[in-house]
Subunit: 442 residues, 2 copies
Amino acid sequence: MFARTSLSGFPEWLPGGRIVEQNVLDHLREVFELHGFTSLHTRAVEPVGELQRKGETSKEVYVLSRIHDPQAEVTDKTLGLHFDLTVPFARYVLENRNQLAFPFRRYQIQHVWRGERPQDGRYREFIQADIDIVADGDLPRHYESELPLVMFEALSALPIPPVTIMINNRKIVQGFCEGIGVDDIDEALRAIDKIAKVGPDGVKQILTANGVSEEQADKLLALAGIRGGKETITNAVTALGVENETLQQGLQELNQVLQDTHEQAGDHIVADLSITRGLDYYTGTVYETIIEGHEDLGSICSGGRYDSLASDGKRSYLGVGMSIGVSRLLSRMSSQQMIKPTRTVPTCVLVAVANEQTRGESNAVARVLRQRGIATEVSPKASKFGKQIKYADKRGIPFVCFLEEDQSVTVKDLRTGQQEPIDPATWMPAAEDLKVRVVSDN
Amino acid sequence: MFARTSLSGFPEWLPGGRIVEQNVLDHLREVFELHGFTSLHTRAVEPVGELQRKGETSKEVYVLSRIHDPQAEVTDKTLGLHFDLTVPFARYVLENRNQLAFPFRRYQIQHVWRGERPQDGRYREFIQADIDIVADGDLPRHYESELPLVMFEALSALPIPPVTIMINNRKIVQGFCEGIGVDDIDEALRAIDKIAKVGPDGVKQILTANGVSEEQADKLLALAGIRGGKETITNAVTALGVENETLQQGLQELNQVLQDTHEQAGDHIVADLSITRGLDYYTGTVYETIIEGHEDLGSICSGGRYDSLASDGKRSYLGVGMSIGVSRLLSRMSSQQMIKPTRTVPTCVLVAVANEQTRGESNAVARVLRQRGIATEVSPKASKFGKQIKYADKRGIPFVCFLEEDQSVTVKDLRTGQQEPIDPATWMPAAEDLKVRVVSDN
């Protein structure tokens, strides 16, 4: 379903692939709106100073200059393409804080750009779908349970294998480190984050080389190995025998999310204390999401609670958010032919043209069909009917309408070959044929 | 409905304005798909060489460079943001010609960027909505009638005043010039194009200064003054007494479009021989569209037939296309408060929370409502009911649900103040309240 990609890192779809993408984006939008999230679309550019405000210098930003006015030097005011939707959202909230009603629930589905070398299947242009709930001053904890449930519902509505959302809590790691006397928490987090790459022994080496004792390292590794539901993790953490108030609070927050989400998501929302990414930025619950059977793809939906989205000096805005990497998800699903469209055009019916003098009559039949929401094309040429049928067949259009000499109308189902008389003013195709759909091959 | 615009030329909407924009884009998409146009989305960037392939050096292109790898010199391979959707579409068709089925009907709704100084209400980032039908080798004339009818239907579905699509044909002007002995047609077109700015006398001065005789100039001005339906223009052109085959062919093509479209569009598709823009590029019918009462806004939907979209040396691709300037249209309609949303969130129902212990019960009611497509939020806090109602009211949410102590559920319509018992499993709001809608103030 991919088009020829003449620019590495900038994927484009063939029409069938685009139909899948649209369908997925429509599904996400529908679920987000059902939960009262309102759409935002921010401009593609931000001043470089804004893009690097959080010390984000690792992201490869594309900077802009006008072709007739090239600019050699990059300053804070130089415009750059946004590399995520959080930076523009934070700026937008701050600029429009007096006209927004808080808590503010928004979703945002847009392209983002990163000037990274397009290796490892990384894209330079891709779609993210974010939801956030932002408050000024106070953000109730229950939103930390609501967000993963919305994303679980959104992802479960897609024709993809089941997903599992894994959660952790910054306070657990922080309290645990305090409790066992490890000072440099960020250093410890960075080491644990390497576990998949270097293994437990490798992590232990890094930790002990940085002043962490063997015993402390073992405990940290034991903590990171804990995964499961409410009882499992409570027992496992308690068994490590570390006493700390922040740890207890984190554990309680984690358990609350597990409890709130269990009825709907069951074991698909699970605690996993090995999750460290984002813990330097997030201040409470963090989320990562894997597709079952596609764990190697990494997290396709991540986020967490943050206490400092933006601040105007007087008020500070805090929130909880999650972001789906839509392009990555779609690319995997398509390349493995897991999802495909039922046809490559929206068209449900092709009206044949007997000769160019009666094209007007064919147009009239098409209009009648469209008035009731049936996507209809009229044949490009009054060629032999066999050729007109081929036009439809090539695109997967399921029905061809013919105007008979007695002015009656017949419709032929190209899959069964059956042809029957119809009244265009009342005939309806089967619901599954009316709109192009996306189906799973599983 | 505009957000604070901290970057001139890069407009953003407040949530209510974004709802209007989404609604307009949804309408356009629906009509395009009903007519069998399939969606394409091309990457935001093209090599500068591609962007300037048609000698388009007048467009202010934004060029990109990577922040960690700044590039002083602009070459043909430097990436630039696309300034329209035609250049990327031509490139896409050529690259994927072996996988596309021709005639290929596509629509494309995307942002484009122009580095122009944002004066005269011009934007640097704005949305275009294009439809094109492209063929390899031969493109039937009837598409020149179909396209304006699709756009007429699309624009008429929007909550804006009526539109008029004005058409002209390259061959009329070309044949007329040949017939009266004017050699430099492009020069003549450029002069006529200035008529609104310098008046007929000014145009005459420019023409005569360029070797056109007074008599020829008068005839050209007379031609440019012709506007109307089939009979009017045929009589008026014939009265000018110019004999030329190309002119006759152009007139016939123009009349065919007027005839094909009259039943549906009446006088809303009309010939206007003063239209010159694009005649250097288009080879047959050309289109411009004005909103009645907003003629000063200029054309909001333009296009035409072209015989050279792209060529691979062996085959050449030709087509007919039209493009709506969505942002410009929306900006006018919103700034004059002509269209507005019925609320600023998708939410139809807010479920109140009596106390935090019963939040789960409120969540359950919300789930039941959402299952039948009713967008529902649960109150952020178990504050006093008056405060919860205020939360809904501030956002224009029409209904608030309450869980009574006997476990029954009531719903309050915030506009009438009426409250009545409901069964969440069967209750439906009025169709006009279910989804946020966009209404016209006219």
